[in-house]
């Protein structure tokens, strides 16, 4: 997730740079229409997905709470990962080709990604259990 977010960061910065340079010298008439792609790349692709990746990593693990997987329900996290990237593809490059319906579908997929990641994270919103072991903290 974090590496995917970094790719979106690189793509978003290139598009932003292109739009900024277009203000100085004319590049192509389609360049200003890249604004939606730029916004979705940097807000959903980079910022939101980076937050997902970091949250997936740092929230308390659930092994001690009876969950089979240490991160609880990873299926929802994978769903969020797929939805946020699908949403970006629809709302960014997809909207350039297919217009507003693709943008709406993409935004919906991005919203569903947030819901899915919330469902993944919900059981992990608890304090970590104290470790059982010697007083020096070693297990």
């Amino acid at each position: 997730m974090v590496r995917s977010a970094l790719i979106h960061l690189g793509v978003g910065f290139v598009i932003g740079g292109l739009m900024l340079a277009h203000k100085a010298v004319f590049i192509h008439p389609a360049v200003p229409t890249l604004l939606g792609w730029h916004i979705h790349a940097l807000f959903f692709g980079w910022t939101i997905q980076f937050a997902f990746g970091v949250a997936y990593w740092i929230f308390p693990r659930l092994t001690s709470w009876g969950f089979r997987h240490p991160r609880g329900r990873p299926g929802f996290a994978w769903t969020a990962f797929i939805l946020v990237n699908l949403g970006f593809m629809l709302a960014g490059p997809g909207a350039l080709a297919a217009g507003p319906p693709a943008r709406t579908a993409g935004a919906l997929a991005e919203l569903l990604a947030i819901v899915a990641f919330g469902l993944h994270l919900q059981p992990r919103l608890r304090p970590p259990l104290p470790r059982v072991g010697p007083a020096d903290g070693r297990p």
């Binding site: 910065f13 740079g17 292109l18 900024l20 693990r61």
Partner: protein, 112 residues
């Protein structure tokens, strides 16, 4: 007069980008929060990290000067500054991503 930089979207862009360019978020995320790269060089190439930080801030400053100047009166020097700003920002983004990329890995012994 094309004062697009004064519109709410322009103000949002400047605020958001300046936050992103701030030392706490840029070098903080890259330098402090991510897993260390190695014992010898925990933060990778620190010179490149500082170069990215300078490029990002320089790009934003150049943009803050050139974009209003270009909107008020199109002058060649403003165009050059705006292109330099765009190049600096793109380069900064790629430096940041390139430095963070190898550090996205599990900490030893913390798998799972």
């Amino acid at each position: 007069m094309r004062a697009s930089f004064l519109r709410p979207s322009g103000r949002f862009f400047i605020t958001f980008s300046c936050w992103a360019a701030s030392p706490s978020s840029f070098s903080g995320l890259r330098g402090g929060c991510s897993p260390p790269l190695s014992r010898e060089r925990p933060r990778g190439n620190e010179a490149a990290g500082w170069a990215g930080f300078v490029l990002l801030n320089a790009g934003m400053l150049l943009r803050a000067v050139a974009e209003p100047a270009l909107a008020l009166e199109p002058r060649p020097w403003a165009r050059v500054l705006l292109i330099l700003s765009a190049a600096a920002l793109v380069l900064a983004g790629w430096v940041f991503a390139g430095l963070l990329w190898p550090r996205v890995k599990p900490r030893p012994g913390k798998e799972g």
